[in-house]
Amino acid sequence: MIPAAFDYVRASSLTQAIDLLRNDPDGTKLLAGGHTLLPSLKLRLASPALLVDIGDLAELKGIEISETGIRIGALTTHAELFASLPLNEQLPLFRQAAGLIADPQVRNRGTIGGSLANADPAADWPAVMLALQAEIEIAGTSGFRTILARDFFVDIFSTVLEADEILARINIPRPTAGTRFVYRKIRHPASGFAVVGIAIALRLSQNLVSEATIGVTGAANHAFVGEDAADFLIGKTLSRENIDQAARLLSEATECLSDRYASADYRANLIQVELKRALLALTP
């Protein structure tokens, strides 16, 4: 279909983009990869008066790896995250997750910032950000603020972003050496989104879990951290019993979504099955 008419501005600075947002917060939308926005415009589910294209903003681009951590610009595409060797040397989770997002055409355009800001409850990056204990850097009228990814997601398609704020960067602390990662996902057969997706960062010391973070997507209104399950695992071996108990705790951590395709019971089961399989994959 054809979108309703709108004005278009290609922003030349972050400040300009923020100003435009502030002028008309309800009528303005940011255009990054466009893979959620453009279909909703074409279906006329959204008809903003103004699109602000942030594609030129250099400060939102690039992957920087330093001693302390990794900074990823919001405009980085899924394909770039998939392909970046230095990034995946540190955090192979990016390649694992990016390779399961939609298809190559979408990955070439869609951005990580767009995905996080859109907060689709079944998107992949939120779970990954939670497992990596990422921090989201937000640009607003009075400069930058940061928030932990775990505090960023509020509800279905809803985050702490104010109408005049822009998700600028993602900061990920450098993982402890020896940390292992896994992302597992059951794809919806039509949309390719996660029916359930689980990201894990886990470190073992002498066969005992010394660090564990679990992020879950697809199952609830928004991605969440499996805190009880992770805490339970600390100091324990990855025995069958411990894995089972962690899986139980993880599935009890949320009220699962229920839709036409999958019931809440099915999702709760997938959380358990997928966590078990993920942990088995991490067992030496």
Partner: protein
């Protein structure tokens, strides 16, 4: 000129001659057609499944920028329409279907009003300004609910929402069911599908300076569309030219008559300008016909040994809000006539009810009725094997119609006759290719270690290659069953075939050339094929019902024979011998047993056009047109086997192998034939595992409104398909071919369901309805475990 082919062209796996253009991005589809001054139509569709239409306010739309016209149904009432079905089963109650809804809407997506504007964007904008008052009525979407007392009624002349009742009977089912060792019943759902074409529907209607009208439309049936549009809009048929350019898939959905097909021609004439309409994907989901949508109740009576004595079927076929083009025939003749499948079941009793509901009209989709019919026979025989704990293969073998019984009339039917076949041969070939015995033991062995594998078997036959025209009259068709081909030889001996068949991806340019090349004995590259233009192609019916090789191909064969017959007369005159002494081989006419130098086909062609030395009373030219009316229909058959692994923890099905052995008679092109099997099997797997249209039962909203919800399989969802053939030539046509296009979509659904049921049989699961989605399988496993106290 190059020499005649040394080898027979029929049977050669030639690559498709039509592909270069398409692969190079040079295809020309309807949406590629852009004409000067072209206007754009957009349609306002009903947001309600059932409602009375009050006031339709078009004033804001009419004054919007670029708008040339805005209309509601009232304005067209009595001018064009109604849309009549082309196949009406005798005794059917046919609801009146206006081109645009007038006082009532009956499904979400029905046309309520339209706008024509200078740009598509303006047309969409203006559609958004149309204001309609609706009084919402109770809706019904499910066929079982629609026939209950007190269900919402759709049409005054269709009491109980049933348009058609159709009965089939052979032998005495009641008697054998009393005498049988076992009688079991099952209820199966044939899930509603969306025939997803890569190219959605599109149409451009363009008035010409000479007063005629050209209509560009993605049509499987250009000549039938010409007649239907002419009759329904009121345009003299000879002043209407229908052009079907390249088509991105049809599968049946592009052989019906839709509102937009009538609106564009009407509006183009009213406005004196070309009018284009193009269907978005989400519009397609709610306006292009759906497929399947049946519920069947089956009863099967059988002996302790697994011999089926009788079968009883009750079909409810959901046809949506109106009777679309062929809708009354699908759940009736096309389904229950074939309910006994490949099995000798002498006692058969079937009743089919055609039911209207507040949903998108349902019509032909690849296989139309035969997948539903085969599903009845196959689910029944699989249930027998399961009930008696007999091997699924042996039960089939025991019940197959035997090779010596062909031509075979199942249950003494007058209407159904299977011309030929060898089901045992198909089964043996399939089992060998599949390595059945080894895999059977593998399944059993793995179950102990918690790996759930299963084997599915399905056999099918049907009738296709529609059809002797007289037979179509009996079953209520307003069309004939012939196909037309003109073979025109130019003065150099090259050929142009004008075929009434219409390729939508099948590869007719290649296969029809192969048929002609064998008779004409000229190289393939000296043959062109023209389809899809009623101004160029003399007449035709088009492509559906797996008929294009059996009927369209036969007409090319026969007209090529007439060319050779005439050429032989001319050659005799040139050689100054008697015609009966002339023989034609390798592209040259010669007189065997003499030293008279032969004369080539191209020389004869030249003579035909200069006319210098023709026999007395023979007209010049070498150009023959045939209307080939078949004398019977062919019966393809096949046995398919699938090997799957089910993960009981997630319900996910992994397809490990798929073997298809099909008997489609003589193979014209094995490569294209395998392609047809692959495509059909993929659509069949899609029905079995992925696709299902859902409606909200309370308000009739379409829940699978886009490809985000409706799961069309991607490459990762389907296995490598191994396609093998057995050739039993059909005696019903001169080239011995049977239809092929629908085979895969008929065999694959039961085959996949049986494989999954076999895999989960250790849990005691005996029934699942399509699509077998992971959540559905998982829930069944949970239920079974709970029942077993696990």
């Amino acid at each position: 000129m190059s020499q005649a082919p040394a080898i027979r062209q029929i049977g050669q796996p030639l690559r498709r001659r039509e592909d270069f253009k398409l692969l190079a991005g040079k295809g020309r589809y309807v949406d590629d057609i852009k004409l000067p001054g072209m206007l754009h139509m957009a349609v306002l569709r009903s947001p309600h499944a059932h409602a009375r239409i009050g006031r339709v306010d078009l004033s804001a739309a009419r004054s919007a920028p670029g708008v040339r016209l805005a209309l509601s149904g009232q304005a067209l009432d009595g001018k064009i329409g109604p849309i009549r079905p082309n196949w009406i089963i005798p005794g059917s109650k046919v609801p009146s279907r206006p081109v645009i809804a007038i006082d009532r809407v009956r499904f979400v997506g029905e046309c309520v009003a339209l706008v024509v504007a200078e740009t598509l964007a303006e047309a969409y904008d203006a559609v958004g300004l149309i204001d309609v008052d609706y009084e919402v009525l109770p809706a019904v979407t499910d066929e079982e609910v629609a026939v209950r007392d007190g269900a919402p009624q759709l049409h005054d002349n269709v009491p109980g929402n049933i348009t058609t009742i159709y009965k089939v009977r052979g032998g005495d089912y009641q008697k054998v069911s009393r005498e049988a060792d076992h009688v079991i019943g099952l209820r199966v759902v044939n899930n509603r599908l969306i025939p997803t074409c890569m190219e959605t529907r599109a149409i451009v209607a363009a008035p010409e300076l000479d007063g005629t009208l050209t209509v560009y439309i993605g049509s499987q049936v250009p000549h039938m569309h010409r007649r239907w549009i002419a009759e329904t809009v009121g345009i003299p048929e000879h002043q209407l030219r229908v052009v079907a350019p390249d088509i991105g898939g049809g599968f049946g959905a592009k052989m019906h008559l839709y509102s937009e097909d009538l609106l564009c021609p009407y509006l183009a004439r009213e406005l004196g300008a070309p009018v284009k309409w193009w269907e978005s994907r989400s519009e397609s989901h709610q306006s292009t016909s759906h497929g399947r949508a049946h519920t069947e109740r089956i009863e099967v009576a059988f002996t302790n040994e697994g011999k089926i004595l009788g079968l009883k079927v009750e079909t409810l076929g959901n046809v949506g809000a109106y009777l679309s083009n062929m809708a009354s025939g699908g759940p009736t003749v096309n389904t229950v006539n074939f309910g006994t499948g490949t099995y000798k079941i002498d006692n058969y009793e079937a009743i089919s009810r055609v039911v209207v509901t507040n949903t998108v009209p349902v019509d032909a989709y690849r296989g139309y009725g035969r997948p539903e019919g085969a599903y009845i026979a196959e689910r029944a025989i699989d249930a027998v094997a399961r009930h008696l704990k007999l091997d699924q293969v042996e039960v089939r073998r025991k019940n197959f119609v035997q090779p010596a019984e062909f031509p075979y009339r199942p249950y003494g039917s007058m209407g159904v006759m299977y011309d030929s076949g060898n089901y045992q041969g198909l089964l043996d070939k399939a089992l060998a290719a599949f390595d059945y015995d080894r895999r059977r033991s593998e399944c059993e062995a793995l179950r102990g270690s918690g790996i759930y594998r299963g084997i599915g078997v399905a056999a099918y036959t049907h009738m296709c290659g529609m059809a002797p025209s007289r037979r179509l009259a009996v079953s209520g068709f307003d069309r004939g069953g012939w196909e037309s081909a003109r073979v025109s030889i130019d003065s150099s001996g090259r050929a142009t075939i004008y075929s009434g068949s219409m390729s939508q991806g099948q590869g007719h340019i290649t296969s029809l050339s192969q048929i002609a090349a064998d008779v004409l004995q000229i190289p393939i590259e000296n043959i062109e094929v023209v389809q899809g233009d009623t101004r160029q192609v003399q007449a035709g019916h088009g492509t559906f019902n797996s008929r294009s090789m059996a009927v369209g191909g036969s007409s090319v064969h026969v007209s090529s024979q007439r060319i050779v017959a005439k050429a032989k007369k001319i050659a005799a005159s040139m050689l100054e011998v008697d015609e009966k002494d002339v023989s034609y081989s390798a592209g040259a006419f010669s007189v065997p047993g003499t030293d008279i130098p032969p004369v080539t086909f191209s020389k004869v062609a030249r003579m035909a056009y200069v006319g210098h030395k023709l026999p007395d009373r023979l007209e010049p030219g070498l150009d023959e047109t045939v209307f080939y009316d078949p004398t019977g229909m062919g019966s393809p058959s096949g046995v398919h086997l699938a090997y799957v692994e089910v993960d009981p923890e997630t319900g996910i099905v992994d397809i490990l192998d798929y073997v298809a052995v099909d008997d489609v008679g003589t193979l014209i092109n094995p490569r294209l034939a395998a392609g047809q099997i692959h495509g059909g099997v993929v659509q069949g797997i899609a029905q079995a595992l992925y696709e299902e249209v859902s409606y909200d039962a309370d308000n009739g909203q379409l829940l699978t409104g886009s490809l985000l919800d409706y799961a069309v399989p991607r490459a990762e969802h389907v296995p490598n398909i191994r396609s093998l053939f057995q050739e039993t030539p059909s005696p019903t046509n001169p080239i011995g071919v049977k239809g092929i296009g629908e085979s895969g979509s008929i065999a694959a659904p039961p085959c996949m369901v049986h494989a999954v049921l076999d895999a989960v049989s250790p849990f005691g699961i005996t029934h699942l309805d399509m699509p077998l989605t992971p959540p559905r399988i998982w829930a069944a496993v949970q239920e079974a475990r709970k029942g077993a106290g696990q």
